[in-house]
């Protein structure tokens, strides 16, 4: 440690007077001087950061997975039953309302979207077990999905009881592989193609079919009505103006949304009822506290160990602000050194756990920003607290 400091200080004639005039990278050299300790420190901070990153990732995956369906629908505006408390629940409305919407100026097309979450039972073609799944349906002449794998099978979907299934559904559903004969609600169906979507927290798998097959395969009570109207606008039409016109024309129990509003609607619901936010915030906070403590221990130990060296620095004329600067820079470097590897490990873990749990686990700008800010704050805060401690313990010596 001393050697590092001494080399760092030579030649003594280059004595920076002001804080932060770090001509000599003292913070970095201090850290480098004991590589084994540095590695231990970075591992400690890195693991705490990883803990936060995982919690942030899980939270994002949870909220993202409920928005997946909306993302897949090819529309500028959406209409649905005004009694709905969230998009992904069954609350159909009469198809006649679609015709009213079609007559509104600026509307290019209004396409029906059918869905079910409670009355759809899929039989695994390989082992014969039956599972609840979600079912989506549309008119193959009026496609509504942004999934190329679905749109490639429009002609085949027109056959009675033809279905497309989700290759990424939970494996126990047996939707992968090459089987073409399966059963839906106890009736034989033909698998005419497969798409890749993946399950979410409520649904294990998805079956997509034509509106006609939907009416055939679902129980009479469940197949009535349209779940949503997917509206495309004419080029140049203003979504806000058209939405207002739609609201005037449609009965009061139909609600009109832009895609952004529909996202917000679903996100609001999740935030209102689900505890995911609380659970993952709790995990993130614990990660932060753990990290702060590790950082505090590191900085405190380092400070007390190097007290004589800092005293030397002071004796040769460096002000307290210079020393404070060195310690804070050291903390900043620790934050960076802990965060970078943790971030890359988190990418691997996201991928691995995401594939295992089949959830949309991945990083985002928000996760990067929040996790780095928390890491930096945690290290700087700990460094500041450790300095206060050391000063309180030994005011005369350095500061």
């Amino acid at each position: 440690m001393k050697t590092a400091l001494m080399t760092a200080l030579s030649p003594p004639s280059l004595r920076p007077r002001l804080a932060g005039a770090g001509r000599v990278p003292l913070a970095r050299r201090n850290l480098w001087a004991n590589k084994a300790r540095l590695l231990r420190s970075l591992a400690g901070i890195g693991f705490a950061v990883l803990l936060m990153l995982m919690q942030l990732g899980f939270e994002r995956a949870f909220f993202q997975s409920s928005l997946q369906v909306i993302e897949l629908l090819d529309g500028d505006l959406f209409i649905q039953n005004a009694h709905k408390y969230r998009f992904v629940t069954r609350q159909p409305f009469p198809p006649a309302d679609l015709d009213r919407a079609r007559r509104v100026q600026g509307v290019a097309s209004v396409r029906p979207f059918y869905a079910d979450w409670y009355s759809s039972f899929w039989r695994n073609p390989y082992d014969g077990k039956v599972f609840m799944v979600r079912a989506f349906a549309f008119d193959p002449d009026q496609p509504v999905f942004l999934l190329p794998a679905v749109n490639a099978h429009l002609a085949a979907l027109k056959a009675p009881d033809a279905v497309l299934v989700d290759r990424r559904a939970r494996p126990f559903l047996g939707m992968g592989g090459t089987a073409t004969a399966a059963a839906f609600n106890g009736r034989p169906v033909h698998i005419v193609g497969r798409f890749a979507l993946g399950p979410d927290f409520q649904n294990d798998g998805t079956v997509i079919m034509s509106a006609r097959s939907f009416a055939n395969l679902l129980p009479p009570g469940a197949a009535r009505g349209v779940e949503a109207g997917i509206i495309k606008l004419k080029p140049g039409a203003d979504p806000g103006v058209v939405a207002a016109a739609l609201k005037r024309v449609l009965p009061s129990d139909i609600a009109v949304f832009t895609k952004a509003q529909l996202y917000a609607f679903e996100r609001d619901f999740e935030a209102r009822v689900s505890s995911a936010g609380v659970i993952f915030a709790m995990g993130t906070i614990v990660g932060f506290v753990v990290g702060a403590l590790i950082a505090y221990q590191i900085v405190y130990t380092d400070l007390t160990d190097q007290l004589p060296q800092y005293a030397t620095l002071k004796a040769i004329g460096y002000g307290p602000s210079y020393i404070v600067g060195v310690v804070l820079r050291q903390a900043g470097l620790l934050a960076l050194g802990g965060w970078v590897p943790a971030f890359f490990v988190s990418l691997l873990l996201y991928r691995w756990i995401g594939n295992l749990a089949l959830i949309p686990l991945g990083t985002s700008l928000y996760i990067v920003g929040v996790s780095f800010a928390l890491t930096l704050f945690m290290c700087l805060l700990s460094a500041a607290l450790a300095m206060i401690r050391v000063v309180a313990a030994d005011p005369a010596e350095v500061f």
């Binding site: 995956a61 039953n81 609840m132 609380v278 659970i279 590790i294 221990q297």
Partner: protein
């Protein structure tokens, strides 16, 4: 000798010791938190079964988990009743309906449970006291964990459920678990009026109570022999194990909390090891001196181990109390039944002390090499 010495070493620099204890405290609290979450998930899935009286459970052979239970013909109940070991068979029906009375006019999904008020399968006092109310026409009991978005659950409030006006007769405390945002109980007669298409011909679960002294496993075997294969007979432990495995391995929730738990354990071990190793290495000069004046390695190890155990004990107690508080927060915020169990405390105690001893042993390697001339070098 080693214990008092360890104590005096710790007491000598109280601030450092406090820091170490805080580290251990956090590590253990973190592990408790993740354990609580991980086990709260299957407990949430088991909520209904945990509040029912039964020795055996009859389900459809398509049974996946409690909320996706499949259905079987009600005719099977009479076949079960015929067995001499069986005292009582109590059928339950499940359905999804819309609660057309959300606080902002929303129509919200409600999980409906139907059973005969003449024979309650529940062990919940609130339910069993209100069976008379439940028997009134179009009257329901609502779980008080039903989300606030359902509006007030005041007795006497009339709510349209799937278009049919139903009166809230009262509330009870069981929990909604993973059944949905809200749960309501219906007497079988009211259930059949609300779902006329389905009626009472199909049953989702049947709780079987055996006569006193009957062996559950033997009765289950007898039932399996006599019943057709569209139904499945579960003993309590089998059903328990099945639900736990569903929620921990098949659901996304299980995988998420499972991986959270693994990470927490790794972080916990790292903190404990680092903290103890730092504590011990700081006392290296003292240990080296002891070695120089003739103390054997064994006695040094005992001192080191005693130090590690003491720090661990000092950190464990507040961590346990903090965990109790965290569990209360989880219960409040997530409505999942997070609870401290004796087995969990024992497991964490054993694991913590095992890690403490391993850390002590690992830091002994440094001590073994300790040479008084070396350790004092460079230290003021």
């Amino acid at each position: 000798m080693s214990v008092p010495l360890a104590w005096r070493l710790l007491a000598h620099d109280k601030r450092r010791t406090a820091l170490a204890v805080t580290g251990i405290f956090l590590a253990i609290a973190l592990v408790f938190l993740e354990l609580g979450l991980f086990f709260a998930v299957p407990r949430g899935g088991l909520l209904l079964f945990d509040h029912m009286r039964f020795d055996l459970m009859l389900t459809s052979s398509q049974y996946q988990y409690q909320s996706d239970a499949g259905a079987f013909p009600a005719g099977r109940l009479a076949e079960v009743q015929k067995l001499p070991q069986v005292a009582q068979v109590i059928p339950l029906t499940f359905a999804a309906a819309k609660w057309q009375g959300g606080e902002h006019g929303e129509w919200i999904d409600l999980f409906v449970i139907g059973f005969s008020a003449a024979a309650s399968p529940f062990t919940v006092g609130d339910i069993n006291r209100q069976l008379g109310t439940l028997r009134r026409p179009d009257t329901i009991l609502v779980d008080d964990a039903t989300r606030p978005m359902f509006g007030p659950l005041t007795p006497g409030r009339v709510v349209a459920i799937d278009g049919r006006p139903e009166t809230i007769g009262g509330t009870y405390r069981l929990g909604t678990g993973f059944m949905g945002l809200g749960v309501a109980l219906f007497d079988m007669g009211n259930f059949a009026r609300l779902f006329p298409l389905r009626g009472a011909r199909l049953v989702n679960l049947a709780a079987i109570v055996l006569k006193p002294g009957v062996d559950a496993d033997a009765a289950a075997r007898a039932l399996r022999r006599s019943l057709p294969d569209d139904v499945r007979v579960w003993t309590r432990p089998q059903l328990n194990a099945h639900e736990v495995s569903y929620w921990t391995t098949r659901s996304a929730v299980g995988v998420i909390f499972g991986s959270g738990l693994v990470i927490a354990i790794v972080v916990g071990i790292m903190i404990v090891y680092q903290t103890l190793a730092t504590q011990i290495s700081r006392h290296l000069p003292q240990f080296a001196t002891m070695k120089a004046v003739g103390y054997g390695e064994r006695s040094l190890y005992r001192t080191v181990a005693a130090m590690a155990a003491m720090i661990m004990a000092l950190g464990f107690v507040p961590a346990f109390l903090a965990a109790l508080w965290l569990y209360a927060v989880i219960r409040q915020a997530t409505m999942l039944p997070a609870a401290m169990t004796g087995a969990r405390v024992a497991a964490v105690v054993l694991a913590s002390f095992a890690i403490a001893m391993i850390s002590a042993a690992l830091s002994m390697t440094g001590l073994r090499r300790a040479d008084p001339a070396d350790v004092f070098d460079g230290r003021p």
